[in-house]
Amino acid sequence: MTEAAGVEAWKEQTTAFDRIQSVATAVSQPQSASHIAGEAHVAENTARDHLKRLVELNVLLEREQDGTTLYGPDPLHTRVQMIRELLHQHDRDSLIELKQSLQSQIEDWQSQYAVESPTELRDRAAETDTAAQTRDIRQTASDWELISYRLSIVEDAIENYNTYSEDAPVSA
């Protein structure tokens, strides 16, 4: 009953295209049109049309596997979208401050756990005494990966600031 209520609310507030885009750009591995249609509560034929459109728009990538077309997010599109979001929110100085803050967080973890990477930290999870400690370490390793990825996006935004910024001069 509650599951149906959630789906109904989703349908009321979004279009079929919105739902297909949201579901397809969030999959962690490429999926078939049938799978995406089921998750998005959209008829399969409609889903196929929307997925093709999203491929044309370079939001998704498609490929064939065992005779089935699979769809997944285009990592380049996602990355550019994140850079654009950062440039909306920050000027160059503020991006540099953000970069320093992310670097400091990573250095703190390196120093606190005496490891160089999230992978090394995950290995530490095998040596803990309690389930709570294991969970904490695994969660920190996940946060570390996310922040490293975020740092790479911030560095891209700084490097290309003059080209991508809204304040960049428009060429004649």
């Binding site: 599951e3 579901v23 969030a26 962690s28 498609e62 699979l70 769809y71 946060d143 996310l146 922040i147």
Partner: protein, 144 residues
Amino acid sequence: MMGGPSDGYDSAAASHRALHSIKQELRRHPIVVETRGFPAGEFVEVVADLAIERWGVDSHNATLTVRWFAGETEDARPEFSFHYSDTERDLGWHHHEQEHVDGWGHFQKRTSTEEYSYEAYTFPSKNPARLVWDVMARLSSEVE
């Protein structure tokens, strides 16, 4: 077209996409007032401020905090939580390793200052966008 979608799995990129999608779906929900990546600038979780008075519930500081980690490998189970709190309640739907109930999926609710009660919960999907709407419907039933 080739060189397709799964040539190199990147758990951090997949997790970020999931968080981005969660933030977008929360923005579309009628009781969500504001969403933000948290901590500011880091974006390891999504925080949404909720106007639960629109459900006829009288409470303050209603917030949903969502974490999502897509898994170390493409086939790994995602680890995530949708956790709600206001001045009177503290509860959430989580999916990660824990020692309280069988399996990963569970619902937890604070019963006293220091303790939670736990019950097993099976999520209807592992897609972050869809789960936002499922959790919000469950939250509505839980707080009303």
